[in-house]
């Protein structure tokens, strides 16, 4: 009668010629004299949506059909019984916002590199933490928290439009052909001492140029110019050179 057994096997090859996620395994001691090219290819015993191919030399569990030993499947993890059950390790290593794992949550996958995928199936909080500590986290209400340890970059495929933040360079860059900030009021703090109020000077000046006003008074809404006064259009060559400057308000 066909049955199945679990055995520990070594990964001999991870290059499946059919690219089906299979690995070539050697079950010891039963296959100690089998030539490498005659060793069986084990199928992943995993969800249809998963793909992770174990590395050569890894030891893992294989699921074997007996008595014929004609079909093999592998469990895509190093057997925890060889080390320790990984929950405590995860709890110690997962540093994501204010999330605190409480057994048995969250469900997680820890990668050999030290990274984690996790989801709290009770609260719905979920995220990914890179081995460096960088994480992307959605809390139970869906609030997104991204923390980076080195740099952060959002960009288009040509790097034409990008936002970068780099802790080493101590710099944040926003680049793009046109950058539009729409707000009733824009406050910028540069350093601790200056809070500047920017007036869109260029826009105001352009408005002045497109309206021919002759005025002895100060400003665009004054009365028309009289006599031999010079029109403001004569200043047009300097408009593009106008830059906003930080002004101390207090």
């Amino acid at each position: 009668m066909v049955d199945t057994i679990f055995r520990v096997a070594s990964v001999i090859s991870d290059i499946d010629p059919d690219k089906l996620g299979r690995i070539q395994v050697r079950v010891l001691p039963e296959m100690k004299d089998v030539k490498d090219d005659e060793l069986p290819w084990a199928m992943p015993l995993a969800l249809d949506t998963e793909h992770r191919v174990p590395k050569i030399g890894e030891q893992l569990y294989v699921y074997i059909e007996t008595p014929f030993w004609s079909n093999f499947w592998y469990v895509n993890e190093t057997p925890w019984s060889k080390t320790k059950y990984p929950f405590a390790k995860m709890k110690a290593e997962l540093k994501v916002a204010d999330y605190v794992p409480e057994y048995p949550q969250p469900s997680f996958v820890s990668y050999p590199s030290g990274s984690y995928d996790f989801e709290d199936e009770i609260t719905g909080a979920m995220g990914f933490m890179h081995k460096s500590g960088t994480y992307v986290y959605f809390d139970k209400d869906g609030k997104l928290d991204i923390m980076y340890t080195k740099s952060f970059k959002i960009h288009d495929k040509d790097n034409k439009y990008l936002v970068t933040m780099d802790t080493d360079a101590d710099e944040m860059v926003i680049s793009g052909k046109n950058i539009t900030i729409t707000a009733d009021k824009v406050k910028v703090k540069a350093g601790g001492d200056f809070v500047a109020l920017f007036t869109p000077l260029a826009k105001i000046l352009k408005k002045l140029l497109t309206h021919i006003h002759i005025s002895p008074g100060p400003g665009p809404t004054g009365p028309a110019l009289e006599g031999s006064q010079t029109p403001l259009s004569a200043l047009s060559a300097d408009i593009d050179l106008i830059k906003s400057t930080v002004m101390k308000t207090d």
Partner: protein, 390 residues
């Protein structure tokens, strides 16, 4: 010793001068076993046989029994032994009973390698590895890598290879067996092929045994029901088939109607759903073709619906895998007239043979169990044929 019998014993390679009257033995072969076996009982009145190492596992014991130019030959080793009681005070005397098995059994290595190719090719290679001087294999279909994984070669063949072996016709189980023939051949053939071979022995069972001088006269013939599942076959339920055997290879089967004893329903597999739930991966679809073989193998206990046990004067030609032509007579219409019995007469396949030497009477005789199938499987059945049926 009876006139005409020549009995030669070799113990550990040397001819042993054992008195024939103090020896009893039986030698057996079967189409369902790779290694011929035997029993040997020696009278050891002084205990000296034991003292001289006869009770040793693996002790080589060769027995040749020659009668009228016909030889039965076994090269065996002691597999087990027992001595139940002493017959003299102060001496380890008394009968020494030994279980024998073909010496090829000891040549097994329990290797951990792999074999690639058709199963018949693999068995041919293994047969030579374990000392069979000849092999006679019918080709099987389907190639694969098979892992021995430390199994003894005999277990590897019987438990792993045979259930997956089938010939091109794929209708009957595949048997691998060694016999007591002097050539020490390992045979591999389907039951259908064995059954279709020409009869090598004519046997008559009649109150007038000299009717056909070309036939050997049977001493006794009785229906042999051990291992038969006729009652199971008569049931109109599925329980006639061993679900444990089948559960891994089928998800459904049909009860067909065969012409067995007046048309009783016969539980028999059809080609419905030959797919196990385990076989779903793209990479292992190749193995599907072996499932048919496993279905057929699972039916091996149902392959014969009739068996006879025939007792013959010692006949080394009556070995497993041979076909006999039985002539059975029934009383005719007038006194002293006998007619051929149409039901039991005909071709039968020898499933197993046993050849006995009775020391007390200094004579030998042979027993064979013969089988045949007397059914017409229903349409679509994996068990085809009507072979060996009249």
């Amino acid at each position: 010793m009876s006139e005409g019998y020549k009995l030669v014993f070799k113990i550990n390679g040397s001819e042993a001068d054992l008195p024939p009257g103090a020896v009893n033995f039986s030698l057996r072969d079967s189409i369902w076993g790779i290694f011929p076996t035997g029993d040997l009982v020696l009278n050891d009145p002084s205990g000296l046989l034991k003292e001289n190492g006869f009770m040793t596992d693996g002790l080589p014991v060769d027995i040749d029994l020659n009668f009228d130019g016909k030889l039965i030959s076994s090269e065996t080793v002691v597999k087990d032994f027992e001595s139940r009681s002493n017959t003299a005070v102060g001496m380890m005397s008394g009968d020494l009973a030994m279980k024998l098995i073909s010496k090829n059994y000891l040549a097994q290595t329990g290797g951990t390698g792999a074999f690639s190719g058709t199963i018949s090719d693999v068995i041919t290679k293994i047969g030579k590895n374990i000392g069979f001087s000849k092999t006679d294999m019918e080709a099987t279909v389907g190639k694969k890598i098979w892992y021995q994984r430390g199994l003894l070669e005999g277990d590897f063949i019987e438990d792993v290879l045979l259930p997956n072996a089938m010939t091109g016709e794929a209708t009957t189980p595949y048997c691998v067996f060694g016999t007591l023939d002097k050539d020490k051949t390992l045979f591999g053939k389907s039951v259908a092929t064995l059954s279709k071979s020409a009869p090598s022995l004519k046997i008559m069972f009649s109150p007038r045994p000299n009717m056909d001088p070309a036939s050997y006269n049977a001493i006794d013939i009785v229906p042999f029901t051990q291992g038969l599942s006729r009652m199971d076959l008569l049931k109109n339920t599925a329980s006639g088939v061993s679900l444990e055997d089948l559960s891994e290879v089928v998800t459904d089967f049909a009860i067909g109607k065969g012409k067995f004893l007046g048309g009783s329903k016969l539980p028999i597999l059809t080609k419905k759903a030959p797919v196990s739930t385990l076989y779903t991966g793209q990479a292992i679809k190749e193995d599907l073709k072996f499932l048919t073989a496993r279905q057929i193998w699972a039916l091996r206990t149902y392959i014969f619906t009739e068996r006879l046990k025939i007792t013959l004067p010692f006949n080394p030609g009556a070995l497993s895998g041979k076909v006999i032509d039985l002539s059975y007579t029934v009383p005719g219409k007038t006194d002293n007239e006998y007619a051929k019995g149409l039901y039991y007469s005909g071709s039968w396949l020898v499933e197993g043979s046993a050849h006995h030497w009775i020391g007390a009477g200094k004579r030998a005789f042979s027993e064979i169990v013969v089988g045949r199938k007397m059914i017409t499987p229903p349409e679509g059945s994996l068990l085809k044929g009507n072979y060996l049926a009249e």
